[in-house]
């Protein structure tokens, strides 16, 4: 009986004393960082600028956000300096990480590596780029947006569901970076005007940002990378043929993507099969008739093929391969041959063809 009492007392004491070892994180004393932005700053002494955005509560009890900026030698150096700017304890939990254009042009991998080592930053943290200065985007107050970080997070989450190519997080960035024969992409935001908007997709060569793809190019890239379920496509026909001037919106797209490589003369062909329904069509043809439907399918195929090839030429020129053609080539070659090959050079001179097959499963109502 006595020994039991002693055990109970020891346990109670342990509970109280052990509790002292844990760090208490009462939420009202925390600044839980919602988004971090990393930029290149002028001057070589402190090359990195970090801006963090975290929610706060004003004196009136209203919800607000606060952005703090500090310059430093490295990511964690800036964290320490940001910490000195506030009485709250800054803790991780970033949902979104933004990179400035200049930093991305210089190369991101050092920044990403030190973020990767930080256990407070998860592998699913969303990555994006900002045209211009990323910190400014977090600092700027937009009349229609209450919380910039939350806005971007939700925007990326929604966009990632709609277009697979926009689904970018730390895991995907590092995977595409380390994998041979594919390059990462990041969505690019701009903050001109009264709101934050998506500008397109920035493609990388290794860890360096090289080109910006426009919104319509992004849509096409989406279908070149892989199979898409329940996608969308917006086509403005006027830029292809001068006589044609109509808008076409396809929805409910299920696509099938196949990449065929001829390793002898280094030729690649991307075969895309699209099954789609017409959501909007502003042209004059009566597409409920099979004849005109076939004609429309042909027009879409032609549009997609030419635009894809244009896009690929653009990518080849900048030696960026977000489609992952290199990966397919690598899988067809022996390790020695792949290693001995100068892939960047081969890629930019390679002949890559695109073949598109479109099938309109339903043309909707036509009046």
């Amino acid at each position: 009986m006595q020994s039991k009492v002693i055990i109970v007392i020891t346990m109670c004491c342990l509970t109280v004393f052990v509790a002292g070892c844990g760090e208490s994180n009462a939420i009202e004393k925390l600044a839980v960082v919602e988004a971090g932005a990393y930029d290149l700053s002028e001057g070589s002494e402190n090359p990195i600028t970090t801006t963090v955005l975290f929610p706060t509560v004003t004196k009136e009890g209203k919800f607000d956000t606060m952005a703090l900026t500090a310059k430093g030698k490295s990511i964690h150096d800036t964290f320490l300096k940001v910490q000195n700017l506030t009485s709250l304890k800054i803790v991780g939990g970033q949902g979104t990480i933004l990179f400035g254009e200049d930093l991305a042009k210089k190369g991101l991998i050092n920044v990403v590596k030190s973020l990767r080592r930080d256990p407070e930053i998860g592998i699913r943290v969303k990555f994006a780029m900002v045209e211009g200065n990323a910190g400014k985007l977090l600092e700027k107050k937009f009349p229609s947006i209450e919380d910039n970080a939350e806005f971007i997070y939700l925007f990326l989450e929604r966009a990632g569901w709609q277009d697979k190519v926009l689904f970018t997080n730390q895991y995907r960035f590092l995977r595409d970076y380390y994998d041979d024969g594919i390059d990462p992409v990041l969505p690019v935001f701009s903050y001109e005007g009264d709101t934050i908007g998506l500008k397109g997709v920035g493609t990388f060569k290794g860890d360096r940002y090289v080109t910006l793809l426009t919104f319509s190019e992004t849509q096409i890239l989406n279908y070149l990378i892989g199979n898409i379920k329940n996608g969308r496509l917006m086509i403005a026909m006027n830029d292809l043929e001068p006589g044609q001037n109509y808008q076409l919106s396809l929805s409910n797209i299920n696509s099938d993507n196949d990449k065929i490589i001829n390793t002898k003369n280094m030729q690649a062909e991307i075969k895309v099969k699209l099954k789609a329904s017409v959501l909007e069509y502003t042209g004059t043809m009566d597409i409920s008739k099979e004849k005109y439907q076939k004609q429309l399918e042909g027009q879409i195929e032609k549009y997609l093929t030419t635009n894809s090839e244009k896009l690929i030429a653009k990518l080849q020129q900048s030696q960026s391969d977000p489609i992952g053609i290199g990966k397919v080539v690598r899988n067809h070659l022996t390790y020695e041959r792949w290693k001995s090959m100068n892939w960047n050079k081969t890629y930019s001179n390679m002949s890559i063809k695109v073949q598109v097959k479109v099938e309109l499963t339903n043309s909707g109502k036509s009046i």
Binding site: V18, G22, E23, A26, I27, E28, P55, T56, V57, V91
Partner: protein, 450 residues
């Protein structure tokens, strides 16, 4: 054994206010009784008028009925009188005539255990009435009763009831022996008796199922269990009972079984909500900010921002206030009880938040767990869960989620160690009988009942 005799009996009672003694036929017949325990109408009908009309001339024949009992022992006579008998001294013989009658509460609806469907009667404080409620439902001679008495002064009658052939005789005998072994001066209620019978008297958990509904009592008897009735108590006890019995309500069986199962699962959910919700609030607000979704973080920060206390103190404060409110509400007369509702609802609810003493999310959390604690149908179990909850809150305040799971482990280990008449307290889970999970823990479909 001392010979029963009129003078000694009178001397024993002294000058009790309700003692009546009369003699008839030149002291040939003398009767002694307590008029507070005797039904005056049957007394007149069965004894006084026959005595006046001198129909007891053939004494042997006249007393050869179950109403009359021939007694010689003085102690037995005293006990008989105290049980509501009339003692009749006729020459050398002494008879006890059973004509009890006293004021009792009418059979009314149970206030503690209410049902929507199903019978509405409940036990009252009189053993006779309670037995009749059970007898009326089981029309079988296999229903057996053992009469015992507990308490040196109170001599409270305790009945052990079981169905022969269904109940395990070893448990019946064990219960009988244990009740006989109880050495106390008095017991006033069956809840007192069960604490004397408990195998683990320091555990916060009730180990005997008690009920005041005859329909539950009877269903327990049919299930092979043994029930105990205590005179002067509306609560019957039931053994062997398990942890899951306390989460049963007869309404589960009176509804479609699918609905019954859903409600039962809701109760187990309520058990966890009561135990853990407030503790979880304390632990995530103190240690685990990562677990809070971004959108919830905003409102949580907003409500916490004006509170000067750490979450642990804040939660403990509000939980104690809720317990105060509950206890005050349980003891106060209903007319004053309304004040509690106003004071508790308005002052604690709104003013505490406006004054910045507690956060409004905590008020929601604490009220939800208080509501959940009242979902447990057994009052005794609900009270012990509420007590154990404080252990969870304290451990969450010290150690966060680790503390919660540590406490959960301790509580589960404790439950596993409990027994009720050698039957494991959480039978079917430990030791595991997966086949009877549906039966013991939830409810099995009605068509599968034999």
């Amino acid at each position: 054994m001392t010979e029963a005799n009129y003078e000694k009996t009178l001397a024993e009672f002294g000058d009790s206010f309700d003692l009546v003694h009369r003699s008839f036929h030149q002291d040939k017949f003398r009767i002694v009784y307590l008029n507070s325990l005797v039904d005056s109408q049957s007394l007149e009908w069965e004894i006084l008028s026959p005595l006046r009309e001198m129909s007891f001339n053939h004494l042997e024949q006249a007393t050869d009925q179950s109403l009359f009992k021939r007694i010689n022992d003085q102690e037995e006579v005293i006990k008989g009188i105290l049980d509501g008998n009339v003692a009749m001294f006729a020459g050398a013989y002494t008879y006890l005539i059973n004509v009890p009658g006293f004021e009792e509460r009418a059979i009314s609806q149970s206030e503690r255990e209410t049902v929507i469907n199903g019978p509405h009667d409940s036990f009252n404080e009189v053993l006779q009435t309670n037995v009749s409620l059970i007898r009326r439902r089981i029309r079988s001679p296999r229903l057996k009763m053992i009469s015992l008495s507990v308490g040196d002064i109170s001599k409270t009658r305790v009945l052990v009831i079981y169905i022969e052939g269904t109940a395990k005789m070893s448990i019946v005998n064990q219960l009988k022996e244990r009740i006989q072994a109880i050495k106390v001066d008095s017991i006033t209620d069956s809840n007192f008796l069960i604490q004397k019978l408990d195998e683990h008297q320091n555990s916060p958990f009730p180990q005997f199922y008690t009920t005041e509904r005859p329909d539950i009592a009877v269903s327990k008897l049919y299930a092979g269990k043994i029930i105990g009735l205590v005179d002067d108590s509306p609560n019957i006890i039931c053994t062997p009972s398990s942890f899951f019995d306390f989460f049963e309500s007869p309404d589960d069986l009176y509804q479609r079984w699918t609905i019954g199962v859903a409600v039962k699962l809701l109760r187990y959910l309520a058990l966890f909500v009561t135990l853990i919700l407030t503790a979880f609030y304390v632990s995530i607000c103190t240690y685990h900010y990562e677990m809070i979704p971004q959108s919830l973080l905003q409102s949580l920060m907003q409500s916490r921002s004006r509170v000067p206390f750490p979450p642990f103190i804040e939660a403990l404060f509000l939980e104690i206030v809720i317990e105060l409110l509950r206890e005050a509400g349980a003891r106060l007369p209903t007319k004053i009880g309304q004040t509690i509702g106003i004071v508790g609802g308005i002052v604690i609810g709104q003013a505490a938040v406006q004054a910045g003493i507690t956060s409004n999310i905590l008020i929601i959390v604490v009220s939800v767990s208080a509501i959940a604690s009242f979902i447990v149908p057994s009052y005794g179990m609900s009270a012990s869960i509420r007590l154990v909850r404080f252990l969870f809150i304290i451990m969450a305040g010290f150690l966060g989620n680790i503390g919660i799971f540590f406490t959960l482990g301790i509580v589960i280990i404790h439950l596993m160690g409990l027994t009720n008449f050698s039957s494991p307290y959480i039978k079917a889970i430990s030791p595991a009988f997966f086949k009877s999970w549906m039966d013991n823990i939830i409810i099995k479909p009605f068509y599968r009942n034999k």
